[in-house]
Amino acid sequence: MTSLTTLTEEALTGASNAADEPTWLRDRRLAAYKRTLDLAWPDSRADEFWRSTPFAQRLDVEREIVVGGGSVSPASFTADLDVEVAMARIVDGALVEVTVPAAMVAQGVLVTDLSTAAAEHVELVEPALGALTSSNTEGTGSGADRTITVNDAAWTAGVFIHVPAEVELDTPIVIQVHAETGGAHLPRVLALLGHHARASVYLEHTSGADTDALVDEVVEVIAHDAAQLDVVSFQQWGSHVDHLALQKVQAHRDSRIRHLSVTVGGRTVRFLPETDLVGPGAETRPLGVYFADEGQWFDLQPYVRHLAPHATSDVLFKGALQGNSRTVFRGNIFVDKDAVGTDTDENNKSLILTEGARADATPFLEIECSDIVAGHGSATGQIDALQLYYLTSRGIPREEALRLIVTGFFREVFGDVDLPGVEDAALTEIDERIAAADLSRFQVNDASLKDHHDE
């Protein structure tokens, strides 16, 4: 087709027509393309939101956009679960398979191709698609950014999900995004939950072991009044995949959102889980676990905007690092002047396992309203020697004790997350990384040990 830097109006029009997209969608793509032309690629020295990832050094946009799909059938951790899930599979730039259980179909649930839905469900898709990205909002963390507008213009594999009002799903909707062919991948997801609907959406991101790719992803979710939504995003890429992810949720009155990310794979991952709390009493809990190893750079930017009264947000990200790796937690909570009764808390904790790893944390609060409760904090530390001693003094070998402590460190994040298979799959991913690590290089902080003996 074309590359991220050589997009043309003709190419976009041709692709849109080939997919039988309606005129409104083609026009919207072209409008986004025109905005793209006005924007430069991010400059990490100048753009506050890009300081935490050196764009020019770590990301290569001179890539052909991958289209056409592939026949790879990546494994899903949900395959082992005793539940019938809805499954949408994106492979190499195309939606290659969609399976929806009959029970969901009977309840009016849609999981379908976004281009098709744009024509067949125009009343749902047209007002929502791009509503949360730079297409029609300005001034958000992710606004007016070429990495977003380029997806708005040229996304190649889209999934549309609609869970009608008052439909409560007990089993997840799974979207697999798989990159096998090198190049630029532009997946897109739009999910709508009607009032009092309940659903969980799992995103599983995988690639070939040697695939060299840039995945520029935009996910938009609108949760209407009192909807309950879980978004779970697994980043399990191979070590040559860069991932830019904007996953933005709009939370209406009394809706409850949990947004859990598990980031273990990829080369550079810039992950933006954003929530706009637009209705009173809405609640969001952006949660994250991550394990960074040699050569990996994770830039995690949970962003919550309190735009209505009495809404709640609780951010908790925990990560472990080893080897020459780098993580940045750049959380931001914005509280609008009218958002009285806001209750917000934001925390990041990192465990540095070996020398050479570096974790930065800046939990921001931007508060324009005085009548609120807000807390934030961050901590970076090492494995506690006293905990290690206690476990080994019970006969547990050092390596197993280290594994227990590191896994235990992450468990706090899962708290009451009762989603089938998620905690096990996440901790299995982390356990595999620990198992592959050279545990003899793990650094242990013995300050607690000395304090203990002084008692």
Binding site: L386, Q387, L391, S393, R394, G395, T407, F409, R411, H453
Partner: protein, 250 residues
Amino acid sequence: MADLEIRGLKVEADNTEILRGVDLDLNQGQTIALMGPNGSGKSTLAYAIAGPPAYEVTGGTMTWKGTELNELTPDERARLGVFLAMQYPVEVPGVSLTNFLRTAVNAVREEDVPVREFMQTLRAEMAELDVDGSFLQRSVNEGFSGGEKKRFEILQAALLKPQLAVLDETDSGLDVDALKTVAEGVNRLSGPDLGVLIITHYTRILRYITPDEVHVMFEGRIVASGGPELADELETGGYEGIRAAHAAGV
């Protein structure tokens, strides 16, 4: 040769000598009380036996059934049957009590105990020690009261079935009911296969567990040894007599 034989043991922490040549014998089936004022080195000896990373053994020998303990890591010592009930048990967030205990039991027995069998034993021991079943889901020692932590230490001993149990100030901070429960727990474990070293400042635990021998430590050495009657003397006279005798160079 005694099962536990300590000869001339010297231990330093932060370049300060804490143990200055300790001799002690303990056999399986025996219960010995080690008493002494604060700072005398009792707890350091406890850690020296169990394998402490922050202490340095600078002299002497310490063998368990002929094996030199000083050369072994804490987990190796535990697998030989050494158990330390700690004065301040450590909180390990995110590691469930069940997972911890099962991992430890499997490590010490060097086999995978079937889950069903393990859980039955665990529940039975918990009932004996009056530990609520809801503890199984909690993280190791996290949010436990002082008494709960001590009971949990004894619960671990009951499951790990050590041959040498060192109880470091296990009585401190316990109210009298909790003290009785813990002491009964220790007595239940006692038998011909278990040697117990009770380290205590006060004599109150010795009202419920009768030692075969009592030793008194002062300034890093054992300065007095005797039978249970020595504990009674300390009960009435305190450590002043020992302090004074030591100051006088006796």
